[in-house]
Amino acid sequence: MEGITVENIWEVLDEVKDPEIPVVSLAEMGIIRQIEISGETVIVTMTPTFSGCPALQVMKTDIEKRLREEGISSIEVRLVLDPPWSSDWITAEARQKLKNFGLAPPPRHGGNLQEILLIDIVACPYCDSTNTTIKNSFGPTLCRAIHYCDNCQQPFEQFKPL
């Protein structure tokens, strides 16, 4: 615990990936909100993407496990709902990683979620065409929707804007 800084913890936790999308880290996804060191205790504050997300417990355990590997024994993982998680928080690098993974990144909505949901133009992660059709607002996980690219004839998933 000696000499460990908040920056060190951010670096270490950058290795903790999203259990459902293992190419991006929880920090890049904006799920880890804050890291504090209080005496001997490391306090990690996180927020769920979708509140029914079953991966939440796994994320919490993964964070604790990674910190214990660093020899940190006193860990507190706090869950907060406010401010509510927004897909706008996903970093530019993470968006590119999602795309390479075959998941269309969510459009930035700047707080205007309802407007985005009405327009809903999604570019295909494979060929970049916007000639796509939504097949289902609900997909294999709470955070994904299913689309079809009419240009390259490929079904694809999108990380939903929230």
Binding site: P48, S51, G52, P84, L113, F138, K160, L162
Partner: protein, 242 residues
């Protein structure tokens, strides 16, 4: 408790479509919606645990799996059997509309934890509302048969919607403190939202049947059967871990 119980019971009804929905997309959609609702119920139950000084980890399970029907505070609307697809869609649409409006008001609640939770949940609910709204139009304006079933479902369901807006015991105090919205105001806002949408889908609200206004501790014969199924595993093996 009423908010949470509505969510958990409707989630169970919706989960009954998992593996059985008319098309694969809807199987997935309703499984998702059920999962979202369970997530929302957990938020409300956890908030209750914090208010009562109970353990936030174990209290939600305790409430869901070890309460008898008379302890549940859900509206009768959500416990009715899932019926046909039209019934499920109409119920979900009417419920989602009520929820969207209630959450919009709760976002401005003077009770901070309530406002924060509502802000979070409402964003997810837009997806539900958009989905069921589209299905109401699709089936209402679909074939003669789909229209007939939708109208029949609406006739059956409408009387039960009143209970969603019945004041709870002592709710007046919470309304006065600006913790929760006035149920009567919510009811008329809800009617203004759903009636035009239903009319667009060629569906008419013409039910003259007596609205259900029973207290939320009163349930239909369907709730005990639902709970028996939902609680069976937890009650057989109370300390199971998985």
């Amino acid at each position: 408790m009423a908010l949470a119980d509505d969510e958990i019971i409707l989630a169970h009804r919706n989960s009954e479509w998992t593996g059985h929905a008319p098309i694969l997309e809807e199987d997935i959609a309703f499984s998702n919606i059920a999962q979202d609702e369970i997530g929302h119920a957990v938020i409300w139950y956890t908030m209750m645990a914090e208010l009562l000084g109970e353990d936030p980890e174990s209290y939600p399970d305790q409430l869901v799996f070890f309460r008898d029907p008379s302890g549940y505070r859900n509206a009768q609307l959500v416990e009715l059997p899932k019926g046909d697809w039209a019934f499920t869609i109409v119920r979900q649409f009417l419920f989602d509309a009520a929820e969207i409006l209630r959450l919009e008001e709760l976002r401005h609640s003077q009770y901070q934890p309530l406002a924060e939770a509502a802000n979070k949940i409402q964003k997810e609910e837009f997806y539900h509302y958009r989905h069921t709204h589209a299905w109401v139009q699709r089936l209402g304006l679909g074939t003669t048969e789909s229209h007939r079933r939708m109208q029949a479902a609406l006739d059956d369901i409408w009387p039960y919607t009143a209970q969603l807006f019945e004041p709870l015991p002592d709710e007046t105090l919470l309304v006065e403190a600006n913790f929760v919205p006035d149920p009567a105001g919510l009811h008329s806002a809800w009617r203004n939202l759903v009636v035009p949408s239903l009319e667009e889908a060629d569906l008419v609200v013409l039910v003259e049947a007596m609205p259900v206004t029973a207290p939320r501790s009163h349930h239909t014969e369907h709730l005990p059967a639902l709970l028996a199924e939902m609680q069976a595993v937890a009650r057989q093996v109370p300390h199971a871990e998985w």
